[in-house]
């Protein structure tokens, strides 16, 4: 043990001025598909930065631990990483973790954090002053979807299908309110128990409601395909939509026949998107010739925004404290992400309220844009 501790001390002594990005990453467990992508995305972006000499000559080092998507393991990883390194940036893996660690984050005051959670609760700069979301929160995702629906078919009826989890329930209440404001009708809300696979009774319920649009939330894959398949068999005409975590192209491909016409909201561009100029996407494609998931893009963009916040803080000659970095992050206005997001982005508060509707094309086996970029609050 002593030898190990000694080694760590040496490593720290070698690089006094390096910046550490810590991460509680779900490399295993139910959320592993995302964790693996995020892990690669963060590493790749940091490699790009470090290859160009780092931020003002200071390299960024990435220290990650696997959490298995369990809150206590995430907290343990946080404690371990922050006690062995001087951490400036942190990536957390779940809403539960983000909430649990928030008081500690404020107490330390030395870092800013983002994560895999887009929970609406976190999108509150007063309650979570040192955190941010690298995209729209779940309510904003619903907002983008419904704004699109209201434009396509004014007065349409929508149904919400969500899992009985914190993740699933997150955007439902505010979105219902928003639907009425947009002149949409919420025809039905269907809750499925977590981990359920047989959805035939729920589909029967959905059929009775006859919605024009059905929005799924709180799932990754199952039971969305089964739902869509049965609904189509019954002759339902509804369009089916998803939110960020069920929108990855390889996931949608797994849906088989049900994937055709599946739509959803995505704040980033897909790996294969060659439209216009996108230097960052080109670099990614150069580094990794095979398809990278949307989780990868999420990790990549998170690292980019964090680095930008550090850079702006250093440029202003300020100390790297949580408050300073968050303030710098909020100065990001019409920032060019090199094509990861299709439009220049701003972070006025805790989130990045931008997204685009994509639709799956069965012939090309790809999610293709179905709308322009939709920016909330503009």
């Amino acid at each position: 043990m002593a030898g190990l501790a000694l080694g760590a001390v040496e490593a720290r002594a070698q690089a006094q001025d390096e910046i550490v990005l810590g991460g509680s990453i779900p490399l295993t467990g139910v959320f592993a598909f995302a964790g693996v992508g995020i892990h690669a995305g963060i590493q790749d972006y940091l490699k790009l930065v470090n290859d160009e000499g780092g931020i003002k000559g200071r390299k960024i080092r990435y220290v990650a631990e696997d959490t298995g998507y369990k809150v206590d393991a995430s907290v343990a990883a946080f404690n371990k990483i922050t006690s062995q390194n001087k951490v400036t940036l942190y990536y957390g893996d779940s809403t539960g973790f983000a909430k649990t660690i928030n008081p500690e984050l404020e107490r330390k005051g030395t870092m800013i954090m983002a994560g895999a959670s887009f929970a609406s609760e976190l999108n509150d700069p007063k309650k979570f002053p040192l955190q941010f979301l690298p995209g729209p929160d779940y309510t904003e995702m619903f907002g983008i979807l419904m704004r699109y629906i209201a434009k396509e078919k004014p007065g349409a009826s929508v149904a919400f299908v969500y899992s009985d989890t914190e993740f699933g329930r997150d955007p439902i209440a505010p979105s219902e309110k928003l639907a009425t404001e947009l002149g949409l009708k919420v025809a039905e809300k269907i809750v499925t128990p977590p981990g359920s696979v047989d959805v035939s009774t729920e589909v029967l319920k959905l059929r009775r409601a006859r919605p024009d649009y059905t929005i799924f939330h709180g799932y990754v894959l199952a039971p969305i395909p089964e739902f869509i398949q049965q609904a189509k068999q019954m002759g339902m005409q509804s369009r089916f939509m998803g939110t960020f975590w069920s929108m990855d192209n390889s996931m949608v491909q797994q849906m088989g026949e049900a994937a055709d016409g599946f739509m959803g909201v995505m704040p980033y561009r897909y790996y294969y998107d060659k439209e216009g100029t996108s230097p960052m996407l080109d670099k990614i494609r150069q580094m990794r010739p095979e398809y990278q998931s949307t989780a990868y893009m999420q990790g990549f963009l998170t690292a980019m925004l964090m680095t930008e916040a550090v850079k702006r803080t250093l440029d202003a000659g300020k100390e790297l404290t949580g408050t300073n970095m968050k303030a710098s992050l909020n100065t990001i206005k019409d920032f060019d992400t090199g094509g990861i997001v299709g439009v220049p982005v701003s972070i006025p508060g805790n989130s990045l309220p931008v997204g685009r509707i994509y639709r799956f094309d069965a012939k090309q086996k790809q999610m293709l844009p179905a709308s322009d970029w939709i920016q909330l609050g503009k």
Partner: protein, 346 residues
């Protein structure tokens, strides 16, 4: 070498710790627990607190399962009751933490008694399954009651002692370790009393116990209440430790974890609960360390960690049940016996 101990009174014979050596060992243990936070890093203090919470809960389960012979797969859900009680009291009433912890214990004991009522009719496996049902029902209540904050759960301020916020592991250590020590000591003493012996009689043969004049239902429910009290206090400490309580904090797998802990440690011994909970909490960390060392040679070792952890968890349960049913406590006894008899038995 231990030749024999002279006892001059019944009191000495009944003492919990009967020799000077034991007292010295105990004092050393106490001292090392006091010194620990001054030498260990934050990570190890964090682990120590987690171990202590698990020890408290496992000891509670040991009272019910190890000593009374009633298998429960609801320990984690009962901890949830305690955690929510603390969170609600802390956020809505603001009573001091000692009262909150006691209230958590009391509340959980009451809930435990309610779910212990099926033990009137069923026992053994049926009871284990009834407790699974109890944890499902409790989980539903947690995630759908306004008071418990629904699926979002509750966030709470830290415990405070004389205006000092106990917001970090190295401060909470001074709350968690003494409470756990007190609870373990209480459990050890319990089995020197009439009620504790009644538990053991029921475990060994409930019908015989009834013939001996032990009121079965009442005693079983007392055992449920006591065990749940422990779970509740442990859950309360858990709540102060993580300061956020959600329905997903206490899944069924955690109940299996506590049961596994007392099996691995040794059912029906206090030492077993302590050893088992410590061992089972530290195994994943050790695995993580090992995998960390392997990473230079096996690049994706990290991604194998979770399945390996699951396999090791299962293998430990199976292995101990087949090869060492008395658990770690028995191994410990064997080591002690070896030294007691050391030069004589070769």
């Amino acid at each position: 070498m231990r030749i024999g101990t002279l006892k001059l009174s019944y009191a000495a014979d009944e003492a919990l710790f009967d020799t000077k050596v034991q007292w010295i060992c105990l004092a050393l243990l106490g001292l090392s627990l006091i010194l620990f936070p001054f030498v260990a890093g934050p990570y190890w203090i964090y682990m120590a607190c987690l171990v202590a919470i698990n020890v408290a809960s496992a000891t509670g389960l040991n009272i019910l399962t190890g000593y009374t012979g009633l298998v429960s797969l609801g320990q984690a859900a009962f901890m949830g009751v305690g955690a929510y009680t603390v969170a609600v009291l802390e956020t809505r009433v603001g009573t001091p933490f000692i009262i909150n912890l006691l209230a958590a214990g009391g509340m959980t004991a009451a809930v435990g008694v309610v779910f212990g009522i099926p033990s009137l009719r069923v026992k053994g496996l049926y009871l284990a399954i009834a407790t699974i049902a109890a944890s499902m029902i409790l989980h539903f209540v947690f995630s759908h009651w306004d008071l418990t904050g629904g699926t979002r759960g509750l966030s709470m301020p830290p415990a405070s002692l004389f205006g000092l916020a106990l917001d970090q592991p190295h401060k909470l250590y001074w709350l968690i370790i003494p409470v756990t020590a007190l609870m373990v000591l209480g459990a050890a003493n319990l089995f020197r009393t009439r009620i504790g012996r009644a538990f053991i009689a029921i475990r060994d043969r409930d019908i015989s116990a009834e013939v001996l004049g032990i009121p079965l239902l009442q005693t079983k429910l007392t055992s449920f209440a006591l065990s749940s009290f422990y779970a509740g206090v442990a859950g309360g400490m858990w709540a102060y430790f993580f300061r956020v309580v959600t329905p997903e904090s206490f899944p069924l797998i955690n109940s299996i974890f506590y049961l596994a802990a007392i099996i691995v440690g040794g059912m029906g011994t206090i030492l077993g609960g302590i050893l088992g909970a410590t061992f089972m909490t530290l195994v994943p960390e050790v695995l993580k360390l090992v995998v960390g060392w392997l990473t230079p040679w096996v690049p994706d070792a990290l991604s194998l960690l979770a399945p390996i952890r699951t396999i090791v968890f299962g293998a430990l349960i199976v292995g101990f049940l087949i090869f060492e049913p008395q658990g770690l406590a028995e191994i410990w006894q064997r080591i002690r016996r070896f030294f007691h008899l050391w030069p004589f038995r070769t």
